[in-house]
Symmetry: C2
Subunit: 445 residues, 2 copies
């Protein structure tokens, strides 16, 4: 098991001495992270989380998931950012992007509170009609606008449908351990509660209750997920660029950035990875995109997007590099049969598995893009199971922290996310923001 | 009705004389397009398509859509690139991203043949179990690997399920009018046939049978869609930057590109627009991304992605500008009720529609991003119906052509898409590609 970094197709863009030149910085980033002396060092809970987590809570998560599986046709997960992307990405990766369309013995799972679209919310409400519903509200403060609004609506929905007492048993709150509006309400109502740890930022929270409860409801083995992450934690502890793929990836992307590559495209050849790329975009964009620095994180799913962004990657502005997640074994395969008439001329593909065609598309593309001037970093992932996903999640998290320290920023804050919120509150007339309103209205005029 | 360009939040980044300085180039691009004297002038069929289309075929599309609605629970649309994105984007925009999950009186629609994932194809096959199925295969040549493979499998699936004769009546082929493997097969089998016009490239083909049949099956009014496009064709015929929003948009994005903005983010505040942004990414990426030039097209759906890419946009590398699609009226609204306990502190939002909150998020974000140094071009779209969508599609298509001519490239070819295909064929041992294989294998070793 375990991910392997393949750097064959980036070697033509980076000389060996460039890697050597980065080692002192890598060592410094490693020490900073390990000794907890760097920017944002209050948010390093994710580092040891795969081994150092609350086992009692973990068992309660499993029990809650079982109850939800028993008494619900639909689980509504309410959250935004890190309280949305990790769980959804893991479920699509482990189960399917068609999870809600497939026949299965686990509840459908819909994510709300990650936008302010009334159409979207109405549609999910209509999907719930006539079905048994539970809700997992995930919010540290309980006052983030998007999830709070959605929860207000779904709380009332459950109370109208089941009565106040039964509704309380169908609401699961993942929130701060001690403070906040949602914590107060949960205590008062007696909701089953889970904790968003203080020292784990939203985008690093998928392996806490934030991600684990929805993932468990989907029928995935969250114990194996944690084990995979724990193995990565061990494997990536050593500060040796030859032995530590995670660190080598962090170094390579910093070198490419300093050579003028301003966009990283995270690419896969399986549609089930698409939401994982969205998770990666938050992790890296929010961690590194500050102080007017950072690699812009983009993504694509091939071969779909070879017929959309493929032209640009092959021959457009030379601003990017690709990081390709190469999944060695798909969850299912499909044998291509020969057709006697060969009406489509495809018999040259017959008598083999479709996964082989996908593999040759990958290999052909890597060569083509490299020759087009796009460095390709390849992450080889053996298969799509819980262990490998846990491992991959930890790989990306630790590489992000090390990469961010090498960039010279605080990988764990997100001051820029507040700007739009403040303006929105002022424009909505929220108490305390009155002073800003007039000035903002002028800017819109 | 009709889209309006709002340039208030880009004015601080572009002086008036810069616009004036572009007018000769704009005029040249306009003349080149109008007189059909430019690069790629064999592919200008989309320009007059909204009025100059085959009315007999249009009626057959409507009739086929009715038949499919009558006799099918599921329509499988097989296509990739322009034979996939436009239809899917339009259906999500006009109906819903939850289209397949909602109760309705039209068939579910699944898109296959846009990737080489065996898992994906198996899952869609399992979703078809026990349901009545029709297939729309969309391929000009019939030999593009992804759709051809998927069609081979679904053709056999239909034949096994219904027998050869009934299967023929459930297959609709959108292909070349005269040539190619799929045309030959369709003639031989007597499939209902529709035409991919010779002078309309894939990414410009959504308003041909390529897009129209699936869109009509979803229950959308394709006549109104064409009328909207026809209105845009009229409105955008005049070469006057003051009167022509489409041309002004093309000029603005070229100015921003030349000032060093290398990424355009197409943003909306409605999840139903997300796939339209994917369509835009093909249209612009494939049209402009060549000769080592072009703006990298990215996208985001807010407020979802304000909690992922928001930090980067607000304060990361200053490489981007945003083009925001501001939909004035959502398809549905939702009234926010007061809660006596105000448990979440959200009563300041109560007694108004949720769409207003979304609007204030938009306004607050535009100001915040502008102040963060990100130019914001705003496209105001009155509502989400067929007319407006047709108008918007034509807006993007014509702006793309004009923009591409100003950039100095051929907006209508895609030579870079062939590179990976050739390598893939060689690696798969396709007859005729044997010479390349050995060399490629060395590069992978």
């Amino acid at each position: 098991m375990a991910l392997t970094l393949n750097t064959k197709h980036v070697k033509n863009f980076i000389a060996d001495h460039e890697l050597a030149g980065m080692i002192p910085q890598l060592q410094a980033a490693h020490d900073t992270l390990k000794n907890k002396t760097g920017l944002g060092n209050d948010f390093l809970g994710w580092v040891d989380l795969p081994v150092d987590y609350d086992k009692e809570e973990f068992d309660r998560i499993l029990a809650a998931a079982e109850k939800i599986k028993q008494d619900s046709d639909v689980l509504i997960v309410i959250g935004i950012g890190g309280s949305y992307l990790g769980a959804r990405a893991a479920i699509e990766f482990l189960k399917s992007p068609f999870y809600n369309n497939l026949k299965k013995d686990t509840p459908d799972i819909y994510f709300v509170g990650n936008n302010i679209s009334p159409t979207y919310l109405n549609e999910v409400l209509s999907i719930c009609e006539g079905r048994d519903v539970s809700v997992n509200i995930i919010s540290k403060s309980g006052t983030t606008t998007e999830p709070a609004l959605a929860f207000r609506i779904f709380k009332k929905y459950l109370e109208d449908k089941y009565g106040v007492e039964e509704a309380k048993k169908r609401i699961y709150a993942t929130t701060d351990k001690a403070r906040g509006k949602l914590k107060e309400l949960s205590d008062a109502q007696g909701y089953e509660e889970f904790v968003v740890p203080d020292d784990v930022g939203g985008r690093f929270s998928v392996l806490t209750a934030v991600g684990l409860l929805p993932i468990a409801v989907a029928g995935a083995d969250i114990k194996a997920l944690m084990e995979g992450a724990a193995k990565a934690r061990e494997d990536y502890a050593v500060c040796d660029i030859e032995k530590n793929d995670c660190y080598r990836y962090a170094v390579l992307r910093n070198i490419l950035y300093r050579k003028g590559k301003s966009v990283e495209m995270l690419v896969s050849y399986d549609p089930a990875f698409t939401m994982m790329a969205e998770w990666y975009k938050q992790l890296y964009g929010e961690s590194e995109g500050k102080d007017h620095k950072g690699i812009f994180p983009a993504s694509a799913t091939f071969s779909t997007d070879l017929h959309s962004l493929g032209q640009f990657i092959q021959d457009g502005s030379r601003v990017m590099f690709e990081t390709v997640v190469d999944i060695k074994k798909p969850k299912q395969d499909l044998f291509i049969e020969e057709d006697a008439s060969n009406f489509d001329g495809l018999n040259f593909l017959a008598n083999q598995n479709m996964s082989l065609v996908n593999r040759k598309a990958f290999e052909g593309t890597v060569i083509a893009h490299e020759e087009g001037g796009v460095p390709n970093i390849i992450l080889e992932v053996p298969e799509m199971n819980e262990q490998e996903l846990g491992y991959l999640i930890y790989f990306f998290e630790k590489a992000c922290a090390i990469s961010g320290y090498m960039l010279g920023i605080n990988p764990f804050d997100q001051p820029g996310v507040e700007a739009y919120k403040k303006n929105m509150f002022a424009l909505l007339g929220k108490p305390g923001y009155e002073d800003m309103q007039e000035e903002l209205l002028k800017k819109l005029d």
